[in-house]
Symmetry: C2
Subunit: 334 residues, 2 copies
């Protein structure tokens, strides 16, 4: 698909030493509700606004992760964080009181993979002893910002995804216990010409295909070498598109593939259309569910690939398409 290969980074000293997830009420009522560290029943999280509530999710998820690692903010060397809100204020307002050296990222819904790979890079290289990766999203703050104000009462399209109210936090260090981050591949921006804000899965499918393909090529692996290939929030439409792209290369990923957006809700019971999305969706599924299974050795090798739609309502209103990106992080139990 491209001329420039890019590189896959390899790590020998990057452990996800602790991880935690905090979610909203709807996510708490989903099939993995009991796996999360806390379910916040109040959509405003005891604050006055959705935006402050989202900041609160990040604050809580990082606190849980620090508690589990017996770390406090004074002992934290660095945090990478991002979210979907304009100017990434979920991160800056959520984490400012911890006073930890802070590097803000923006990768839309790919941000948790981006932050994990950056945390692994910095710990593995020895720049820091530990580094946190934190992201969040919130249904109400995202709808207000990206689509329509909720009280507009618009009918959602069938391809529309449901932004998860959720945050995940992971702390990486060099402690040599599972889960290990073994490798990572940075995504390239892919533009498939999609212009529909309610069809982001399609905009991201090409990016997932490209990054996973490059990662496996550089690692010398095939889908059968992984227990699971986990995408962030392609949804059903985006997943099907990704399968088609792999099929052109004679590669089948369907049997190994799980999409966090398709898992976080019970789509028969919960009215969430094409599934979940948002920076917090795969962050909470990774930190609430998948990383536990890797730690216990029930999953030995997974390829976590979070996709992001690098779109802006302003650009789409100007007729621009929605570029996608995906970053891949390989995580193992040994």
């Amino acid at each position: 698909m491209g001329m420039c290969e890019g590189k896959t980074f390899k790590f020998s000293n990057a452990t996800i030493t602790s991880f935690a997830a905090v979610v909203g009420k709807v996510e708490g009522e989903g099939p993995y509700g009991s796996e999360f560290d806390e379910v916040i029943e109040d959509n405003k999280g005891g604050t006055d606004t959705w935006e402050q509530a989202e900041a609160g999710l990040q604050k809580k998820s990082l606190q849980y992760a620090m508690d589990k690692a017996e770390l406090n903010p004074e002992k934290m060397d660095l945090v990478f964080a991002g979210d979907l809100l304009n100017q990434c204020t979920g991160s800056s307002y959520g984490l400012k009181d911890y006073y930890i050296p802070f590097l803000g990222l923006y990768g839309a819904c790919s941000t948790f993979a981006e932050s994990l790979l950056m945390a692994a890079s910095m710990v593995n290289a020895g720049y820091v002893e530990n580094c946190a990766a934190v992201t969040s999203s919130h249904f109400s703050s995202a709808e207000r910002q990206f689509r329509f104000p909720l009280n507009y009462g618009g009918v959602r399209t069938p391809t529309a995804q449901w932004t998860a109210t959720a945050s995940g936090a992971a702390i990486v260090d060099a402690s040599q216990k599972a889960p290990f981050i073994r490798a990572a591949t940075v995504g390239k921006i892919q533009d498939m010409g999609i212009t529909d804000l309610n069809n982001m899965g399609a905009a991201m499918a090409g990016a997932a295909y490209d990054t996973i393909t490059r990662h496996m090529k550089h690692m010398g692996t095939h889908p059968e070498n992984y227990d699971l290939i986990i995408t962030g929030d392609l949804g059903q439409v985006g997943s099907d598109m990704m399968y088609e792209l792999f099929k052109r290369d004679g590669v089948s990923v369907e049997g190994k593939h799980k999409d966090c957006g398709l898992m976080i809700y019970d789509r028969d019971r919960q009215d969430v259309h094409a599934g979940g999305s948002g920076c917090g969706c795969s962050a909470s599924m990774m930190c609430g569910y998948f990383l536990k299974k890797v730690r216990r050795g029930e999953l030995k090798r997974i390829l976590y690939t979070a996709t992001g739609a690098l779109m802006s309502p302003t650009m789409v209103q100007q007729g621009g398409s929605i570029p996608g990106i995906a970053h891949a992080v390989e995580i193992t139990s040994e």
Copy 2:
């Protein structure tokens, strides 16, 4: 000021091998106008919108930097980029056609220092052979997004800064020729309780003070060890506040200090109130002016500290304050 020290990263293999800056008409008419690689006279840069024009600035500045290093996009391993637009679309739309592995950052006006320090970290650790750092800002797209639409015709307050229409791009590799990136300190978010969107210099002064203080402590240096301490866009109000904070510690930085926001325009001749701001302001002054002086040995050791106001109009409308951050990058000629 804080309990947590954080770390200063040291680099022995990080050279800024090429750099370039592209600016708008007003910046081209400023005192350093002749230093920039290109001055775009048309505010929309030949496109239909200001946002597309800003994307074009990033595309151009990186192209100039690649040309100077005799690199093409296929030979680029990684790019860190960010801007002030919502969803950082100046970066994603500006750089998507290069198809270079892309990591998006958000640090408001601190983003060029953030991207430089990340580029140095990744090259110095050997993850990549080269890595670009690119940021931009645009007066018209920023005014529309952050304050008032330009056609509202509001009177600007005296403390208001003028968002620079500018982009800077630098390429870091391990080629062992000046300028060298020798060290960097990641900022912590500082909240000084400022709530005025037109007084961002004050919101950022504490962050600059904190990061520069920690950097010098870790390096065992004092202001006199540097030829210059260069801040991004504190403006006069923010610079004066920073001097006051240093004075409490018995440290004088005035004689060594230059602020890119106070340099980029001729404030007697150009009606820019408190000076320039924006991700592109210090990026273009570094890539158009200061790095040339380091390469020629006219500046031997500089501490570039870009500050960012991590504010969102939404949070400020909700009564929130404006947190600031600053990242420091030490650059030497030997």
